[in-house]
């Protein structure tokens, strides 16, 4: 019978002789970490609650609208892809305002940023990777909802192949409109997050911007209730109401932040959303809401980049 024996090995320090993928790997690692952070993967269950709720909030309307289309009678008006964005956009903006600071604020509060910036990447790489990570999450969410809806509408039709042939143009439209909405939902909250290390403050500021801009734009660009409804006699010809700001109302209508990407979405889908803000904005040529959208995404994008430039001075 052999005697049991054991040996202790001193592993010592091992040098690394494998591949080094430099800046490309560094960017990818930050992007992956950003996606995981946004979705709460690898974190405790409280971090997963908001992304899970957002997923439900975005996908549920698509499923509901598909079911509604399946049970619709001939002649009923079917829900459209533009309708879907109008329903989920505000929810998406509020949720993104809450989740986006998670990608930037803790790195600065815990000063992990100092460890990132001594590695093979620049401050621009860092901020671009974080932005791309959150854009990927928001884009995936809005596109998943639209794909579910498109699938539902196709299957609900009596002639699915006919439906596909007649409505294939909806696919590039909802993809591009989704990109427009996702970029807006990503850039503004991330830009605000560069001004504070406290996630709650950043989220509160962004939500306040959305919530305050809506009534401000409403007061300045829309008709009051009594003006538009109460003073008109029954059977009288419809009078055009006059907002307090007169002809400038169509410009003040642009101030409502949650509506800004929706105006561009309306242009893409070539649809009238029916909202009073949209009615005012339609008095402009299409280039105006599109240009305003570019300003409100490029501006925060520049702020985002510029705020991180200061880490190398």
């Amino acid at each position: 019978m052999s005697e049991a024996r054991g040996e202790i090995f001193d592993l010592g320090y091992h040098h690394y002789d494998g591949p080094r993928q430099g800046r490309t790997r560094a960017r990818k690692a930050l992007w992956q970490d950003g996606v995981r952070t946004a979705l709460g993967i690898g974190r405790g269950w409280p971090s997963k609650v908001l992304p899970a709720l957002l997923f439900v909030a975005v996908v549920f309307p698509a499923v509901f609208m598909s079911l509604a289309a399946a049970t619709a009678e001939i002649g009923d008006e079917l829900p459209t892809h533009a309708d879907y964005y109008r329903i989920v956009a505000v929810v998406l903006f509020l949720f993104s305002a809450t989740i986006a600071p998670e990608l930037l604020c803790p790195d600065r509060r815990d000063r992990v940023i100092d460890l990132y910036l001594v590695r093979p990447l620049t401050a621009t790489d860092y901020v671009a990777a974080r932005w791309a990570a959150f854009l990927s999450v928001t884009l995936a969410l809005v596109w998943i909802g639209q794909i579910v809806l498109f699938g539902g509408l196709t299957l609900a039709d009596e002639e699915p192949i006919e439906y596909l042939r007649d409505n294939w143009l909806d696919v590039p439209r909802f993809l591009s409109a989704g990109l427009v909405i996702a970029i807006f939902a990503t850039t503004l909250p991330l830009a605000v997050s560069t001004f504070t290390t406290r996630r709650a403050y950043a989220a509160a500021i962004v939500i306040a911007l959305y919530l305050v801009s809506l009534p401000v734009a409403g007061v300045l660009s829309l008709c009051g209730d009594e003006e538009s409804q109460g003073t008109q006699a029954a059977g009288a010809p419809e009078e055009k109401c006059e907002p307090v700001t007169g002809d400038a109302a169509k410009w003040f209508a642009l101030l409502s932040l949650p509506e800004v990407p929706m105006h561009v979405s309306d242009v893409i889908f070539d649809e009238d959303s029916g909202s009073e803000f949209a009615a005012r904005v339609r008095e402009h040529p299409s280039a105006v809401p599109i240009g305003w959208y570019v300003v409100l995404t490029a501006g925060p994008g520049f702020v985002l980049w510029w705020r991180y430039r200061r880490f190398r001075t």
Partner: protein
């Protein structure tokens, strides 16, 4: 993609070219001059960057890492400027003085992520994370959240993240800050092992002379943004021409007895220091000790200490 122990670092070891080189390096913050046209080199081994708070140590480290750009001059890492070439940073490790660890994740996950951010593929990054945590003695704790770690353990994680991508050189900024005497000793031992066993060069910034004395081969002394001393630590700790006469009590009496013999003795705590000009002086000292009736504890040539660097530095 390039191989790990690439030709770059071997070239540096073989040619003994400096790992870091400051040439006329100047950094100003408004009217404040943090570094004033300093020139120095850091070679393989353990080099101490010694100086009081505000001497310019952290500024120098940040310039080499590319976190700051020089106002004038250059800070080169293996012949390249880190603020111009990001790739050279893949071969540097950095342990900052301040807290820099996230709280929400465990040590293993954090290190694997930092290895990937240093350019390592995911599978190798996880292996390196385990290796680095084993090296700093935290292998058993690798799945614990970082917010549950003690100060000493956090310092070790900070060192581990600086080593996780197997750098050529690590820059440690006040590595023993906030540690109790036991933790400080362990950290210094870890730094020695990192250099002597792993062969990774170290630049250790500290205001504690004991840390530098016990760890470093070479020293660069910064004072008010200037390099005041530079060289091997042994040079500063070799024997001097003075003799230390350590007695139990009665230093003043001994100094007086020496004075009657025409010998100037400076009282320094429980010792009297005499400048040795002649071997015959030993007989005079013996007689003075007898005359002063003091109990002799030690009579030996005085060795220099790093503290002398600051005593001799011009104001």
């Amino acid at each position: 993609m390039f191989s790990a122990r690439a030709s770059l670092e071997y070239t540096w070891h073989v040619t003994a070219a400096p790992l870091l080189e400051a040439k006329g390096l100047t950094k100003r913050y408004g009217n404040t001059i943090a570094l004033d046209a300093v020139d120095f080199q850091v070679h393989a081994g353990v080099t101490g960057l010694l100086g009081a708070n505000g001497a310019g140590k952290s500024t120098a480290i940040k310039l080499f890492l590319g976190l700051l750009t020089p106002t004038e001059g250059s800070a080169e890492v293996m012949g390249q400027k880190a603020y111009e070439s990001v790739e050279v940073r893949a071969r540097l490790g950095y342990m900052p003085e301040h807290d820099c660890l996230p709280s929400a994740i465990n040590a293993s996950e954090f290190l694997a992520h930092m290895a990937q951010v240093s350019g390592l593929p995911p599978t190798q990054a996880r292996v390196r994370a385990a290796d680095a945590l084993r090296h700093v003695g935290l292998h058993e704790e690798r799945y614990r959240p970082l917010n549950e770690f003690s100060t000493g353990m956090k310092q070790r994680v900070k060192l581990a993240q600086a080593l996780v991508h197997d750098p050529v050189l690590v820059l440690l900024d006040e590595a023993t800050a906030g540690l109790d005497p036991g933790g400080r000793e362990e950290m210094l031992e870890l730094i020695r092992r990192t250099s002597h066993e792993a062969g990774i060069s170290v630049l250790l910034s500290s205001h504690l002379m004991g840390d530098i004395d016990r760890t470093c081969d070479r020293i660069i002394v910064l004072d008010g943004g200037h390099v005041t001393e530079e060289g091997a630590v042994a040079r500063f700790t070799q024997e001097t021409s003075s003799i230390v006469i350590e007695v139990d009590a009665g230093c003043e009496e001994l100094a007086a007895a020496l004075a009657t013999r025409g010998i100037e003795g400076k009282v320094d705590g429980s010792s009297v220091v005499v400048e040795l000009t002649d071997e015959a002086l030993y007989d005079e000292i013996r007689d003075a000790i007898v005359e002063a009736d003091v109990r002799l504890r030690r009579l030996a040539p005085r060795r220099g200490g790093l503290a002398d660097i600051f005593r001799s530095s011009p104001e």
